[in-house]
Symmetry: C2
Subunit: 307 residues, 2 copies
């Protein structure tokens, strides 16, 4: 890994497999993490696309422990640990740090809307102080379309000033390139690591001085995305970016999380992947048929995916 991005250039919010009783399936989870790592993709487990907010705190603790027991390289992990409450966020973050993760990706508390910058500053500060561990590397998670609670430049500035060693970067899932660029311009030079929330912005992010992307579709298209991350200064970078965008377009034509699971189920031949926890549900038959037909026609595959 580049010392500039200890968790790697491209990470995936790892989709979470469920058994037929909707309990997390640790065995398939480990298999999928290994496949992603083999494709040079880091593991942003417990992200939005992981249905992490549909898991209890204990379920997340247990799944991380399974990865550790399976000897997954924990420095490549960036688990999501941000919850609505300080105690839950502290529990998950402390445990992750103790397991040696490369960083944690922390949502703002997302129940109350229209909260103040001061309130968010205090929330993150309380979590950092209570975790009380110099090894913590905290990545802020800006995803206003879902969390509805944004992380603005003023908050980043205050947190960086107060905790310069600990506040390590951000994932910007706003989908607003202007915001990503503004964050890089404001804080990139001092080592603040900016990840785009989609590979659609991978090349622009790297060219602007960001460090990579953490992207849903890296669950299914890891090799091509990590290849651009590794060769973004090459002559074919724009063509590679264009090819990534075309596949991204296909996934964005249907609901993303069930699309990732339907695709994984299809190309692995393992129908168990096509289970989601409510309130999310599988694609309906016509959505799935259209998605898989389009992918297959384009020659899409998931080489080496575990069955």
């Amino acid at each position: 890994m580049s010392p500039n991005a200890p968790c790697g250039t491209v990470l995936s919010p790892v989709i979470t497999p469920f058994r037929d009783d909707l309990s997390p399936d640790a065995s398939r989870f480990v298999d999928h993490c290994r496949w992603l790592m083999a494709n040079d993709v880091g593991l942003a487990i417990f992200g939005t696309n992981s249905e992490a907010n549909s898991l209890s705190v204990q379920e997340r603790l247990d799944l991380l422990d399974h990865l550790v027991a399976a000897e997954i390289d924990t420095t490549r992990l960036m688990p999501g640990t941000g919850c609505c409450s300080i105690p839950d966020s502290v529990t998950l973050t402390s445990h992750a740090v103790a397991q040696g993760v490369g960083g944690v990706l922390m949502l703002p508390p997302f129940y109350y809307k229209g909260v103040s910058e001061e309130g968010l500053f205090r929330f993150y500060s309380e979590v950092i102080e209570r975790v009380g561990d110099d090894r913590l590397r905290l990545y802020l998670y800006h995803i206003p379309p879902v969390a509805q609670v944004p992380i603005g430049l003023g908050l980043i500035e205050r947190l960086l000033k107060r905790y310069p060693e600990i506040v390590a970067g951000i994932k910007d899932s706003s989908g607003d390139w202007g915001n990503t660029q503004a964050v890089i311009d404001a804080f990139g030079a001092e080592g603040f690591r900016v990840y785009a929330g989609s590979e659609r912005f991978l090349l622009p992010t790297l060219r602007a001085g960001g460090v990579g992307c953490i992207s849903a579709t890296a669950n299914v298209n890891p090799r091509a995305i990590s290849a651009l991350g590794a060769s973004w200064q090459g002559e074919d970078a724009d063509a590679r970016q264009q090819a990534l965008n075309e596949i991204r377009d296909i996934f964005e034509s249907v609901p993303m999380i069930p699309a990732l699971k339907a695709t994984t189920a299809h190309f692995s031949g393992d129908a168990a992947w096509d289970r989601l926890r409510p309130p999310l549900i599988s694609l309906d038959e016509s959505q799935r048929d259209k998605l898989l037909a389009t992918l297959t026609q384009g020659g899409f595959t998931m080489p080496g995916i575990a069955r």
Copy 2:
């Protein structure tokens, strides 16, 4: 209590006191619950105004146990038990039912936005099936300004049809009287209990066939609100409603939750009440001064509030 509303006509989402280390203060919590009950207000503990989403599951379990140990009448309790995840919602709901609560008030899972009616139906169904207790009385919690995930008429209809004994009612915090009326018109006749989310709609709700309100300001103005609930068919009902609205207006002129705490701190003489968990913060000095001056000028008091 009217057999039509076992938890009572007026309930309060009980504000949660914190110690200076931000841990929940069970002793003050019990005191406040007793004062509300003495003013004929039921206890919708762990609501939005309770900062419940800033508490861990365990903290909520413990606080409820404290009320039980203090011999609070649990049939007047309607704890909030809806979380983003099925397991957390089941844990809280099962425990509440085992403690003999009159009902539970259940948020939809609120992280993922734009979810389908089918997904929400499956979420609530899973929770009901896993709790698996005929004593469960579930009130749906419709609060789109905060949760951003609405509970529509189609969902209510499906849940009522599938679980007619268990799905007992709704709290409508949309602030949209047209919606409240539509829900009463559609389901009130079959015994579905509709609570408005503000005393501003108490009289209209009762006249339309709803059962009452669950209101933030019942934390500070319980006697006057419960009095209208008890005498809404009296000649002075409209005047009482108007008087309630005027006090409500004052509280709505500043952020509600810190306003409730600042007011309770002031009129009890107990400054410890003026603590919130981040991301929420206390009123600033000018907001507090203005609020308390306006209340005092209007002759507002909280008689009998514990110091």
